[in-house]
């Protein structure tokens, strides 16, 4: 009669440890230190993922997750949890910090482009909110104004308003794919943008929250 092979405890322990410990280390490093994510969508074209619409190729960025929402700069890239869908993240450029006044670009008003994707109702609601923010909008304390480089296809602060700095997961990225651009930061080039920013003062909490910062 053939013997039924039962793995020994040591073998089982070794297999379980081999499977779980590297995954746990990877998860911990990803959550706290560095993470590599692909940039899907063409909202940052042509800076990032320029071929996404045609060929589906997305760039991959290495993000620093340590103190992500501290030391933000105007024009830097951030990855943040999508305020409209809490299970997704998005990559955009920080255009204005708290206290700055944003002079909105009329091209970026939601619904200016002809869309037949069934989003007309949403565009109408967002256009109404945009009209209330236009022409000048002061970014409140603890929030930032994010925009995508591709004004035609970007779902950004012009649609959902400024985002809280607590939503920002990572900053200071570096390209790791494609290999031709490894290590570069092509978004550091100063670009002409239709959105103008009047710089203000940062770090002044409103009266209601002042005692939290003392």
């Amino acid at each position: 009669m053939p013997v039924r092979l039962v793995p020994s405890f040591r073998t089982v322990r070794r297999v379980v440890a081999f499977a779980t410990i590297p995954a746990a280390i990877a998860i911990t490093i990803q959550d706290n230190l560095y993470e590599i994510t692909p940039v899907t969508g063409s909202s940052m074209a042509p800076t990032l993922s320029p071929d996404y619409e045609l060929e589906g190729r997305s760039d991959r960025l290495l993000w620093s997750k340590v103190s992500a929402s501290a030391n933000l700069t105007r024009g830097g890239l951030v990855i943040y949890t999508n305020p409209q869908h809490s299970e997704r993240t998005a990559v955009k450029r920080v255009v204005a910090l708290e206290g700055d006044t944003v002079i909105l670009d009329p091209r970026r008003r939601p619904g200016t482009l002809d869309r037949t994707t069934g989003r007309e109702d949403l565009d109408r609601v967002q256009a109404k909110a945009w009209d209330q923010m236009a022409p000048k909008f002061e970014v409140p304390f603890g929030h930032v104004w994010v925009e995508g480089d591709n004004w035609r296809k970007s779902n950004d602060s012009n649609n959902f308003g400024p985002i809280s700095k607590s939503l920002i997961i990572g900053s200071s990225p570096v390209i790791v794919f494609p290999w031709a651009r490894l290590g570069t930061k092509p978004w550091d080039v100063r670009r002409r943008s239709g959105t103008r920013v009047v710089k203000g003062t940062q770090g002044v909490p409103p009266e209601v929250f002042r005692d939290m910062f003392e």
Binding site: A24, T81, N82, Q84, S164, L167, P205, F209, M212
Partner: protein, 230 residues
Amino acid sequence: MLARLFHRPHTRLPIPRRSLYLPQLRRDASTWRTRFIPPIKTLRIPSLKAIRIPSIRDLRMPTTQQLQGTAYWTARISRYVILFFIGYHIFITHFFVYGPVYGISMLPTFNDEGDWVLTSSHYRRGRDVQVGDLITFTHPIKADTQSLKRVLGMPGDFVLRDTPGTSGAMQQVPEGHCWVAGDNQEWSRDSRMFGPLPLGLVKGKVVARKAAGEWLLRAIGEPWAELEVN
């Protein structure tokens, strides 16, 4: 050769040695052409096993048993510390968090200090969160603090924007957000001050509470059971 075939039983055949049969090219004095001439004697080359080529295994870090003294204990303790931290992080973010809470914004549901709560991270980012749940979230204004409040509205609901009795204005909670309020409305800073809370900031839902002065951990069941209504 024939002697080998008819060897005597009490003798043993010699152990065949691994020898390399090197052909020796010898120029014949009579002709100008070299010819293959069998060697005069066989050469013995030491086995390749005697030459140790370092392999990939030798490039690994030494095992703990090979270290000496303080290095041994440093390696052992740091390994346990690192694994503990990793396991702690995974447990915190995916399962449960047990910690103290303080503040007067949730009286009388929670005491102002001394209470400990058990939070389930299953409900992070707003998954399965309903109206009436007590949730912990990263503060939208101060990113390094966490707050505990009650959910009054989920996306699409209409909520009172200000304190009851002031303006009476209503607001619809936008997509992906929720409306939170503290039970002690006079001394609570909540969505009336910072607006709808993005669900991406939600860290978990309170499932049990240990009151100050007690040792028993009581599960929190029905959302409105803890709230005293006058």
